[in-house]
């Protein structure tokens, strides 16, 4: 084998990358990043198969994106996260795959370079999910984060309800009828985009929603999509380009 790099990419913000890896680390131990002409993609299904993180970064999201052919970089999420934590805001992240090694460089005032083994991660079979949602809301990420934190104070379940296309409720459901409610309306401008085709209501596990809260640090807006007793999709648009989607199965009563 030649020593030529099979892939070299450079991402402008190592901290944003860290947020994504942090979310991954909550649901899975090892993951593989696929590099192809369409960009980088990471898909991870948690062991209980109820949550799916799907990260898509097109080539334009990178400062440098030279990928000769399809490549795959497998790594231990917790270890990778440890390396990324050494970086500072504004640092650049460079990843280079060569043979069975991957070099990760965090480039700021100083250059930190780490070499790790490219793991052969067995990819889980994940069907391409096609879903239709009856309610879809785009709102500020901080609002969602705070509503979930409020809900957490009373219990382990959060309920999303979209009764009509002007109101949106995020409720914490606790034992014996205790609860916390956040009401968002279109008039106050909290709901930037809001479409409801049918009254929808569903409950989800707070523990699992918390897994992706780290992404609210980098994404300003979040799209919440759901239907009655059906999976929830959270979409985070990353600065520059790129998107993270989080699918979560509903709780059964």
């Amino acid at each position: 084998m030649s020593d030529a790099a099979i892939a070299r990419i450079s991402y402008p913000d190592s901290k944003a990358f860290q947020s994504m890896i942090e979310a991954l680390s909550k649901i899975i131990d090892e993951v593989s990043m696929k590099l192809g002409p369409e960009g980088a993609r990471i898909r991870a299904l948690d062991p209980a198969k109820i949550a799916l993180i799907d990260i898509k970064l097109p080539p334009s999201a990178f400062l440098e994106y030279s990928v000769e052919e399809e490549a795959s970089i497998g790594f231990n999420v917790a270890n990778f996260l440890k390396l990324l934590k050494r970086g500072k805001r504004g640092d650049r992240l460079e990843i280079e795959a060569k043979g069975d090694r991957v070099t990760i460089a965090i480039v700021g005032d100083v250059v930190r370079r780490y070499t790790i083994l490219n793991l052969d991660v067995i990819e889980p079979e994940i069907p391409e999910a096609r879903f239709s949602f009856n309610a879809s809301a785009t709102l500020l990420a901080d609002l969602v984060k705070n509503a979930i934190r409020d809900a957490e104070a009373v219990g382990d379940t959060v309920e999303f309800e979209a009764p009509n296309d002007s109101e949106f409720y995020i409720r914490g459901v606790g034992p014996e009828g205790s609860g916390a409610e956040t009401r968002l309306t279109a008039e106050t401008g909290q709901l930037i985009e809001y479409n409801v085709s049918e009254h929808s209501k569903a409950r989800y596990s707070i523990d699992y929603l918390k897994h992706v809260l780290s992404l609210t640090k980098v994404a300003d807006l979040v799209t919440v999509e759901f239907s009655t007793d059906a999976p929830l999709r959270l979409g985070f648009s990353l600065p520059g380009e790129g998107r993270v989607e989080y699918l979560l199965a509903p709780k059964l009563e």
Binding site: P47, A48, K49, I50, L248, A249, K251, L252
Partner: protein
Amino acid sequence: MSTARRIPWVVKYRPRKVDEVADQDEAKKLLLPWIEQWLRGSRPAKRAALLYGPAGCGKTSLVEAIAREKGLELVEMNASDFRRREDIDRVAKVAASQTSLFARGKIILLDEVDGISGTADRGALDAILELLEATRHPVVMTANDPWSPQLRPLRDASLLVRFKRLGLRDTVSVLSRICKAEGVECDPEALRVIATRSEGDLRSAINDLQAIAEAYGRVTKELAQNLVRYRDRQYDPFEVLRKIFMSKYAWQARQAATHSSVDHEMLMEWLNENIPAQLTDPEDRWRAYEALSRASVYMGRIKRTGAWDLLSYVYDMVGPGVAFSMRKTRFKWTKYSFPQRILVMARTKKTREVREALASHLARRLHTSRSTVKSDIIPFLQIIFRHKPEYAARLARGLDLTEAMVKYLAGPVANDVLRHLRSRRH
């Protein structure tokens, strides 16, 4: 040699449909309606199914085939993944309380639950029981040996589905199907040899077939006879008993005894229970129990002195010793049963505890030994308590007995005694 990635045939030819799972019709008849009841949305009384049977007979394959055929998601955990409570809570319990992302339902499969030990993994067992309480989806467990005492709570909560060792014909037919699909020249006689030596373990039969086919490009009887060995297997107690009683040679009986999936003491219980069922001639029974009691004497010495080298003689006694007691009785097929002694002991565990507590309580007060209390005092107390509730209440107070002890002594009239006891207190 081809450079294509080598896939084990056991994976490549995994059954995809329920019909493709070899035999096990009785198991299918039990399991399928149970799964269908879940799918109709009503939770069956038994939340879990425990599939048990020897290795390689299709337990996991059947679950996988059902999931595939019914379009269900399979959330699978192996024994090594669920040694700790957190692991079960993190995966199985979470999966059990949410719907599936991609499928219309799911099956939670805990493979090889007999791999968890009762003491070291206590937390894991409790977590599984909690899972069964809470689950909204069918939970299926598999085990080779479901009779170990630590699995009792799981057994009680589950639908028990027994898988049999596969018969020769079923094994041969699967093997020849694979030969055809692989385009390998196989002698039917060779397949019979492989199947016989696999003893109903289809997985090992397929592995043996693949090993020969890939090394030699064809499978002949001669190759099979030279290459395929009987594996060191463990047999469940039913099989061990049958093998012991059917042995023609001493070594066969001994091998059966040493390859038991239950330990030697449990095996002695099984023999104790089933010797009279199998041996109808009184003298044969006498000889068999002689051998068994000799084994018990060795066990006693082992326990007292720690001389484990005597264990070898225990096996000689329970295996050949019992087998060759059979001189007049002719072997005939007998239905063996689980040792009643163990069932009774389990059922009476609480009562025996109270009796022990009562014995040591009274022994201290009456300055006598616990065994004297049990043999000479408790029987009389029981008569008094059952016939003279009022006097009994005075005794109970004088002897400072707890409510559990009073209940034990008074049996059906416990409430009368307790009422007297309470009215005197005030």
